[in-house]
Amino acid sequence: MTILEGAAIPVKSLTDGTAGVLETFQRHRSGIFKFALQLVGNSDDAMDLTQEAFLRFHRNWPAQDGSRDAAPWLFAVIRNLAYDLLRKRATRKEHDLEQVPVESRAPGPEVLALRNEVTARLWTAIGALPLAQREALLLRDWHGLSYAAIAEVTGANVNIVSSRIHEARMAVRRKMGGVYGPGPKS
């Protein structure tokens, strides 16, 4: 084997690796950012969490099974980072003698790109859900993850995920009081 042939092996592996990381970034960047935004409620924080999630992905990429979908892993990282941020915010608020539990902390309608009465009402109803139900509902209905993938992201079992989604839908349904706008897309 010549020096050039020897160097070609790691160079090819490196090129494939870089392409894999960048491809994953391109494919999931929007969804990951929006999940962060849905949990923490402002664009700057969501962007910081997205950056950190992809840097962690880059660091851990060689250890990942290339055939597995990266989405649940990335969603889990974003979720953990968002929880840490929400806990820090709650601690800061306690210092300010505003003791608001993390569970009730829901992003306001400023995260919505298009606002009308129905979507604002829906988002308020979703925002009032306990965090575990809210994340399960959004991961299912907005991000389209399966129950098994949501279980992987949240660390709960599939039955608990199913129960959380059901409770969330029933609660949102009650809060919406039959106002659904012009009707479903499908």
Partner: protein, 147 residues
């Protein structure tokens, strides 16, 4: 199981039914129940509306300049990190190779000489520390302090 219990159980299966997360048998039971239960049929229809409505909510897009910055950072980091790893691994392999070659071609008596040098070096270090302590002892402000 009475009718009320069955209704409650079927109602809890409406979400996984809607999401196609049930087994074939469970799906069939829910479908049969929904055909006969107006309340569950209405709940299922509302859930379908809600799911569709939730999926249609549009959130703020990520700022493109920050996304480009992350992409640049990712494309630079990977080759840099791998470059350093390859240089260090290559150098270590060369040092190990050189050590093996040197060990094989070692002249007789040189191993004893090296072991002796290490022992003499340790003795010299010990003597130098003791000597420094002896020199500094008269000026040590704490020498009369009882431990």
């Amino acid at each position: 199981m009475d009718l009320a219990q069955n209704h409650e159980k079927m109602q809890r299966l409406l979400s996984p039914f809607l999401d196609d997360e049930l087994t074939q048998g469970e799906s069939r039971r829910v479908r049969v129940h929904v055909e006969d239960c107006r309340e569950c049929a209405a709940t299922l229809e509302e859930m379908r509306h809600l799911r569709s409505l939730t999926a249609s909510v549009q959130f703020a897009e990520p700022p493109e300049d920050r996304m480009a910055q992350i992409e640049r950072s990712l494309s630079v980091r990977m080759p840099r990190q791998a470059g350093w790893a390859m240089i260090v691994a290559g150098l270590l392999a060369w040092v190990a190779y050189a050590a093996v070659l040197a060990w094989r071609a070692w002249p007789p008596g040189l191993q004893e000489l090296m072991a002796g040098a290490i022992i003499i070096g340790l003795i010299l270090l010990f003597v130098s520390v003791v000597r420094q302590r002896m020199i500094e002892l008269p000026e040590d402000r704490y020498r009369r302090v009882k431990k």
